[in-house]
């Protein structure tokens, strides 16, 4: 590498560097100056420092970062990756603002540093087209998330969740690496573009099929698609609320984007078809099967849950199924739909976890604990209403438009009604999902609060962050063009 490309590297990774440095800074600050400060102050100052770092990175992305790249697809910065990075940073900031009511650990600096490192990993993951870098960033992200999941040392559940996540994650990382090595063996390259050329030549190679299945297994774990979802309910339930919200939101955004990039850029030659009556072998039918299993199992299993966090986990599995439809469709339009869907989904999920974290002191876990929330904390439960209805896909909230656009893209392919079966199944399952979301809301609004309960106090910062998230969900639902036009412009810029 020449000198000029080092400066290029620095220029392109400036946002990531800022976020990583902020992580170290937060660590140092907390361990030096704030050693003897109260826990509340430490949490608050760490949150402020971390969010300012993210805002700085945001400003760099928005302000003065031009598209570019490094050789061998190691780093690819284009308008679309920048847009996804902006979404990731916004989500990270929301998570920080929602930490205000969390007091579960005394290792504040480490906790925030890890969130920032995980964010750095995600920022890098979405801006690379090189298998090696993809694997390294996924591992970087996963290791941070394992620790974050098991961070609550006083809770056995947290430790169990962390261990389970780690064991499943380690296994699937191995499978992913195996799949990637097969791809490398087939094509002699780690760059997605060159792999695509090699795949184009021999799409029916049995080794390729094996590689595809293994890569899908490894990444299916990250996005919690069934049948690779076993860790999700445990992590959502056992992990500290904020770690869970990170796992559920921004890690999903980054992983889905990476999944789309790998299959769309690298394996387009072996796509096959999942259209009804026109089936042909390739990865599209495989992903369609995973999507079907996720939608059906996630939504049906969610009905049986009594814990709200597990319910959200199973609903996340169902949502992964809807989003995989966009991958089955694999058009430019479906990429727009996927980015819109996953970003708005992540917003609503961060919101739900924000509400849960505000209720942390109440030890709220089962659905029955939500009874009378509408009276005990009207603002909080109204936000919950917005988030859950958005997840259920009720207009005019953002979740509805995401679903609508995914379905439009699914039918807007050459063979009009080929994927209609997938859309009809998704619609049927969204009716099911409406039922269990409504069960939670029923407790909040219809049931009277148990006697002797008091009003719930919510810290001001959390309240503001929640209202802002809810407002975003409503605004993006009413005026989807705000986000949609940016995504569409970014997608058309790279094609």
């Amino acid at each position: 590498m020449t000198g000029s490309s080092y400066s290029e590297l620095l220029r392109l990774t400036a946002p990531e560097i800022v976020v990583a440095l902020t992580g170290i800074l937060v660590l140092v600050l907390d361990l030096s100056f704030l050693r003897r400060a109260s826990l509340a102050l430490r949490f608050r100052s760490a949150a402020v420092a971390a969010s300012s770092g993210c805002i700085l990175a945001l400003a760099m992305l928005e302000g003065f970062s031009a598209p570019g790249g490094l050789p061998a697809g190691m780093l690819v910065v284009n308008p679309l990756t920048q847009l996804v990075q902006i979404a990731l940073l916004v989500l990270a900031i929301l998570v920080f603002l929602l930490t205000d009511s969390a007091r579960f650990t005394t290792h504040v600096g480490e906790y925030f540093a890890l969130i920032l490192f995980a964010t750095t990993a995600m920022l890098l993951l979405v801006s690379t087209q090189n298998l090696l870098i993809i694997f390294i960033t996924i591992e970087f992200l996963s290791l941070s998330l394992y620790i974050l999941t098991g961070f609550d040392k006083e809770s056995p559940q947290s430790a169990e969740a962390g261990l389970k996540y780690f064991l499943f994650g380690g296994m699937s990382a191995g499978i992913l690496l195996f799949g990637m090595s097969l791809l490398y063996g087939l094509s002699g390259s780690l760059v997605l573009g060159s792999i695509a050329a090699a795949v184009q030549d021999s799409p029916a190679d049995p080794l390729l099929t094996l590689a595809i299945v293994m890569v899908l297994t490894g990444l299916g774990f990250k996005i919690a698609a069934a049948p690779f979802h076993m860790w999700a309910p445990e992590v959502y339930q056992g992990a500290p609320t904020l770690s869970a919200s990170l796992v559920a939101s921004s890690s999903k955004v980054a992983s889905f984007f990476a999944l789309f990039v790998i299959f769309y850029l690298g394996l387009m030659g072996a796509v096959g078809s999942a259209a009804w009556g026109h089936y042909s072998a390739g990865w599209a039918p495989v992903i369609a099967i995973v999507a079907v299993i996720s939608m059906v199992w996630g939504n049906l299993a969610a009905i049986a849950q009594t814990s709200v966090r597990r319910l959200i986990a199973y609903s996340a599995i169902g949502h992964a199924g809807y989003m995989l439809i966009a991958l089955v469709v694999h058009t430019g339009q479906s990429l727009i739909a996927l980015v819109y869907y996953v970003v708005t989904y992540a917003l609503a999920t961060v919101g739900v976890f924000g509400v849960l974290s505000a209720l942390e002191s109440e030890k709220v876990d089962s659905i029955a604990d939500f009874r009378g929330l509408g009276k005990r904390a009207p603002g909080l439960s109204f936000c919950l209403l917005i988030f859950l209805l958005s997840l259920a896909g009720i207009p005019p909230l953002a979740g509805f438009f995401g679903k609508f656009y995914v379905f439009v893209s699914a039918l807007n392919v050459a063979d009009r009604s080929g994927l209609l079966w997938l859309v009809m199944l998704a619609l049927a399952m969204s009716v099911v999902s409406f039922y269990y979301y409504l069960r939670v809301l029923k407790q909040a609004y219809v049931s009277e609060p148990a006697t002797g309960t008091v009003h719930i106090q919510v810290p001001a910062i959390t309240r503001i962050a929640l209202w802002a998230t809810a407002a975003l969900v409503v605004i993006l639902g009413c005026l989807p063009d705000l986000l949609l036009s940016r995504i569409a412009a970014a997608v058309s810029a790279i094609r």
């Binding site: 009009r416 859309v423 005026l479 063009d481």
Partner: protein, 502 residues
């Protein structure tokens, strides 16, 4: 200006939540004012557009990337239903004056529901119509689950799941229509003239029609209606039966039949003696008429009697739609209006005047209370309402059912007899309910008279409003017919007239 019916209702909902909890009367008056303003706007609009031509209110790009517009407009049919919504909304507020628990929440949800209903009737972009259609679902759930009675949580959940499942079918059809037309628009005006391929219409039509007809109470998807109506608080049952079921019927006409008229064409082969979707849905409608009336005949709960009578009457709407001739279709729209008023009246008497005073709806128990003597006003209203309901001349129900029957005679002569049988059963169950409720056996377990509060002023006003509407429209049907016919003969229904119209 008509657009303000929607905005005012939503603004009213916000305003109601901001009123002090300690003074529920402010919330009540605010809700009444909002609904009155809506009704006023509707009346002005009707008076200004006597010709029933299509008028555009707002048209502006909404989601340019997809070519979706925010497009409010109204033709004669929309105007009729907007007027109905206005009347039903005012009456509903008047009949829920006595709600004491969570008054603010009640009226806020009520106004959101009203606003969404106005929105559906005025939307001329399919996406927008669907958005309003779904917004209407959520308040229904909470209105029933919080303020309802008999098995309210079950009934509320059943109702919203049926609605949601129906709208899922509609969504599928809508997305398919958007993609197939390739026009990058969901404007009803454009799509109404788009010649969709016939084989596409053949599956899109039943999909969308059934999706909407679930909400119109089409047999066998009607079961949400009686349980939902019986469980809902009075104002909500009035709105459910009076207006929300019309949303379904309106969608059937405005979306399914207007966009996919060729879906009604003969299939060219026969399955179980059915040769087209027209015949299938006509038979389902007739079954609904007879079945609903027969079940109403054996109910013990007075509210269920009225609930099943709604299923029966909505059968006439669907039958009228399936006749595919001008008389039948205009009869169907007239029946939407007429049933909206009469069902509102019946639920008002049953839920507010009778149940809130006696705390029972069991016909056996009611027959032991001399209600006709205790609340004569309710008895008179109920008699008039049932006279209107069974279609006696002089009431709006007569005009509507007569037109539907004439239309049916032209399309499917043999079905007229079965529908006529349904009317006869209707007379029987009305008679039975009337007899048991107000003119029962002399009281054995006598209720002291002072325990029964007299009929209040809001109740009287609401009853007068609804009674006046049904009688005026029974005596002078041209008032609405002049709006409906230009609507049906307008350019939007051109494809339907060219295709299945006979």
């Amino acid at each position: 200006m008509l657009a303000w019916t929607i905005y005012l209702s939503f603004l009213g909902a916000v305003a109601v939540t901001l009123t002090p909890t300690t003074r529920p009367v402010i919330a009540r008056f605010l809700a009444l004012l909002t609904t009155l303003a809506g009704l006023g706007l509707a009346i002005v609009a009707v008076a200004q557009n006597r010709s029933g031509q299509l008028i555009t209110i707002v048209r502006t790009p909404w989601i340019p990337a997809l070519g979706i517009e925010y497009h409010l407009a109204a033709d004669g049919i929309s105007l009729v239903l907007v007027l109905l919504t206005g009347i039903a909304a005012v009456a509903g507020v008047l009949f829920s004056w006595n709600i004491e628990r969570r008054v603010k929440d009640f009226f806020a949800l009520y106004l959101v529901l009203i606003g969404a209903v106005y929105g559906v009737f005025l939307s001329f972009d399919l996406f927008e119509l669907f958005v309003f259609y779904e917004i209407a679902i959520i308040p229904k759930y909470f209105l029933i689950a919080i303020w309802g009675s008999t098995r309210r949580e079950y009934a509320a959940m059943k109702l919203v799941l049926y609605s949601f499942a129906g709208s899922a079918l509609v969504l599928a059809g809508m997305v398919a229509a958007y993609v197939v037309s390739g026009e990058r628009t969901l404007s009803l005006e454009t799509l109404a003239h788009f010649p969709f391929p016939v084989h596409f219409q053949m599956w899109a039509f039943p999909l969308v029609f059934v999706g909407f007809a679930v909400l119109a109470g089409m047999w066998p998807f009607h079961t949400w209606a009686p349980t939902g109506h019986a469980a809902a608080p009075t104002a909500a049952s009035m709105l459910l039966a009076g207006v929300v079921m019309k949303l379904g019927a309106y969608g059937c006409l405005r979306v399914a039949m207007m966009l996919f008229p060729r879906g009604l064409d003969p299939w060219g082969f026969h399955v179980l003696a059915f040769g087209s979707w027209q015949q299938v849905f006509a038979v389902l409608a007739v079954i609904g008429i007879v079945y609903g009336a027969s079940i109403a005949l054996v109910q013990k709960d007075l509210k269920f009697v009225v609930g099943y009578s709604s299923v029966s009457h909505m059968g006439f709407v669907l039958l009228g739609l399936m006749t595919l001739n001008q008389v039948g279709l205009s009869g169907a729209v007239y029946q939407m209006f007429s049933h909206g008023i009469i069902a509102g009246l019946l639920f008002a008497v049953v839920g507010r005047m009778v149940y809130d005073r006696t705390h029972t709806r069991d016909l056996g128990e009611l027959s032991r209370i001399p209600l006709a003597r205790l609340i004569p006003f309710a008895a008179v209203t109920f008699v008039l309402a049932f006279m209107a309901s069974i279609g006696l001349p002089g009431f709006s129900g007569f005009i509507a059912e007569l037109e539907v029957l004439i239309g049916t005679w032209r399309a499917f002569p043999w079905m007229t007899w079965i529908a006529g049988l349904g009317i006869l059963i209707g007379i029987a169950f009305s008679w039975r309910a009337l007899q048991a409720t107000f003119f029962g056996e002399p009281a054995t377990a006598k209720v002291p008279e002072e325990e029964m509060p007299p009929i209040s002023v809001p109740e009287r006003l609401g009853a007068y409003l609804l009674l006046a509407s049904t009688i005026v429209l029974g005596l002078y049907p041209r008032l609405l017919m002049d709006l409906i016919l230009p609507g049906l003969n307008g350019p939007l229904f051109e494809q339907l007239r060219q295709g299945g119209w006979r």
